[in-house]
């Protein structure tokens, strides 16, 4: 069985612990994205899986074999780096074939594999160029090609698209998704870009402070975030958070009572619990347009047009709510406005444990 199983993995630099007790399973053919802010440990985890960083504790299995004490090149992995890390003095062909040469593969096989990867990535015309003479997008393709020629069981991507401009990034994203599908690759992919994560992943592991906060499919992650951190980190514009007290089936926010009967709770919540109500901007509407949900009185503050829709900012007591509106409709909104909060899709968190209720 291919795939990855990381268990109880820990790593620290002196007193600073960068990975704490990580457990992660990636099934064969899965596309797992490690998502998190910089410094959350996602790249360290990837390097640990690759064998490029020492670890303090735990085991790493790839394809059912314990590789914890193996050299990077003996793990059956291939890796694509953020800076591409192409060998600048070698041609594209040299870059693609170096790993196979080092491993002592027969010449004919090397040539065949290089030709196959170049064809697949449409870099055949550039095979005899040096990386320095190529554009960022082409270099990216070479970097992916260098990984593909290895018959690796597992492909590791370390923020591969972050050095590309927005347009190329979208193109390459599609390309990578296609490769995953067509070749049935098993991929672990690190990024801080949630759009990349949402579009590519079969499962996303959101990391923070050296821990995995939640490991779930993109939809699940977006709709039912497990922690306050995940709820805030995933989604742009960000989820609205209303801190309050749970009292008799309602959330009291600054004395304003929001009946919460529609909330999908896991267990009954005790009265007097400090909670945080999380509502995404697209789950709030204008009451006068007949949007479903609990009505609350607010005042419009300003509008941020974003093209496809406009983000409206409304004051509710001491809090500010962002609401996704149709641009034409937004222009007609001003002053006192009654909003409707659709709590069927909202999340409720315990304010002290920051976990979903």
């Amino acid at each position: 069985m291919a795939g990855v199983r990381v268990s109880a993995l820990s790593k620290s630099y002196g007193a600073l612990s960068v990975l704490r007790d990580i457990d992660l399973e990636v099934a064969e053919g899965e596309f797992t994205v490690l998502l998190g802010p910089s410094g959350c440990g996602k790249s360290t985890l990837l390097n640990a899986i690759a064998g490029l960083d020492d670890i303090n504790d735990g085991t790493i299995m790839i394809g059912g074999e314990d590789v914890t004490a193996r050299e990077p090149s003996k793990r059956g992995i291939a890796m694509v780096f953020q800076s591409y890390a192409l060998y600048p003095t070698m041609t594209v062909r040299g870059n693609l074939s170096f790993g196979l040469k080092v491993k002592g593969r027969p010449r004919a096989e090397i040539e065949k594999r290089v030709a196959w990867a170049a064809e697949l990535l449409q870099i055949t015309p550039q095979l005899d160029r040096k990386p320095g003479q190529m554009s960022g997008g082409q270099r990216q393709r070479v970097a992916i090609g260098r990984a593909l020629v290895q018959d690796a069981r597992l492909f590791l991507f370390d923020e591969p698209l972050s050095n590309l401009d927005a347009k190329l990034r979208t193109e390459m994203r599609v390309e990578i998704k296609k490769l995953h599908k067509e070749l049935g690759l098993t991929i672990v992919y690190v990024t801080h870009d949630q759009i990349e994560a949402m579009t590519l992943a079969t499962r996303i592991a959101v990391m923070q402070g050296g821990r995995i906060e939640q490991y779930a499919a993109p939809d699940e992650l977006y709709e039912r975030p497990e922690t306050l951190f995940v709820a805030g980190f995933v989604g742009a514009p960000a989820m609205n958070f209303l801190p309050g007290i749970w009292r008799a089936g309602a959330v009291e926010v600054d004395g304003i009572r929001i009946p919460a009967g529609a909330l999908d709770l896991r267990a009954p919540v005790a009265d007097g619990t400090s909670v945080v109500l999380g509502v995404r901007p697209e789950h709030i509407g204008l009451a006068e347009d007949g949007a479903p949900g609990e009505a609350i009185a607010t005042t419009m503050q300003f509008m941020e047009p974003m093209g496809a829709d406009t983000l409206g900012w409304f004051a509710m007591g001491g809090h500010r709510l962002s609401v996704r509106l149709a641009p034409q409709r937004a222009r007609a909104v001003a002053g006192a406005t009654t909003l409707a909060l659709d709590l069927r899709l909202a999340s409720l968190f315990d304010a002290t444990t920051e976990r979903r209720l």
Binding site: L52, S73, M79, T89, F98, G99
Partner: protein
């Protein structure tokens, strides 16, 4: 970008004035050496230092090259020239090789004792050579290296090590670490990464190292004097011996021709390498 160019204000006149006077100061010795070497001895005694030679003659150069005397031998400074070449070529090659490997191992592999080694090497850059000389002479005579060609090559490798290690360490430390990781994933080991990836990338710094070592070793006096032995005296030592040779009348034209001949190699390196020369000094000077 500073000041205004174009109009010749008094300030700019002052700037050019000072620069020209400075240029004269810096050029003076070279000019004096060249004109003196082209004059005859009577002309030197009668004329003045700055006068151009009345009848330029290469006689002094020829004498300096092939028949000038040190003590009783009169084979000219060519002996020293060839000795210097014989010392230079292997010394440059060996010292750069050792420095490159050491710098590479220190920067990317961090083996045991790396910090200690680097600390020692960097401290030595400040220490006067006189501290090492006597024990080295004893050690070398114990293993039979004193006054041998091999001995002087080893000496230049030893004393080139701190600077060579430093510039290669700094260079390899500036190579993106991901390149090193990629090579590890590809399965390359210590020497493979060095030979196939790092060394081809290091060509510019190798050129810098060659400039530094070529001028440094060619200009060396003290090590040549102590370790090379009479048979292998480098050009600088032989030049000093020729000039201070007390046989007969002092021939300033021959002395200056010999001096110019000794200066030619570093001057050629300097003028051919241009800005690389400055880069070399800067690379060797930035302690890190």
């Amino acid at each position: 970008m500073r000041g205004q160019s174009g109009a010749f204000s008094p300030v700019r006149l002052g700037i050019y004035g000072f620069l020209l006077i400075s240029a004269a100061f810096f050029l003076l010795p070279l000019y004096v050496m060249v004109v003196t070497s082209l004059k005859s001895m009577p002309e030197i005694r009668e004329g003045n230092l700055l006068a151009l030679p009345g009848a330029p003659s290469a006689a002094a150069w020829i004498k300096a090259w092939s028949t000038a005397c040190t003590g009783l031998t009169c084979n000219g400074i060519q002996v020293g020239f060839w000795n210097s070449v014989t010392i230079l070529v292997p010394s440059v090659a060996v010292s750069i090789s050792v420095g490159a490997v050491t710098g590479y191992a220190l920067s990317l592999w961090r083996p045991r004792g790396a910090a200690l080694l680097f600390g020692i090497l960097m401290s030595v850059a400040f220490v006067p050579y006189q501290v090492f000389l006597f024990p080295l002479v004893r050690m070398f005579s114990y293993v039979g290296l004193n006054s041998t060609l091999l001995g002087i090559i080893v000496i230049h490798t030893i004393f080139g090590l701190p600077t060579m290690t430093l510039i290669f360490r700094n260079y390899f430390a500036s190579v993106p670490i991901e390149l090193f990781k990629a090579a590890r994933v590809d399965g390359a080991g210590f020497w493979r990464i060095f030979g196939s990836i790092m060394l081809p990338m290091a060509v510019p710094i190798i050129v810098v190292a060659m400039i530094l070592q070529t001028t440094g070793i060619w200009n060396d006096f003290i090590f040549g004097l102590v370790f090379a032995g009479r048979e292998n005296f480098p050009m600088t030592v032989q030049l000093n011996n020729i000039v201070n040779s007390t046989q007969g009348e002092r021939e300033y034209n021959v002395d200056m021709a010999a001096t110019m001949l000794t200066a030619l190699v570093p001057l050629a390196v300097y003028f051919i390498s241009g800005r690389w020369f400055v880069r070399g000094i800067a690379a060797g000077a930035v302690k890190g």
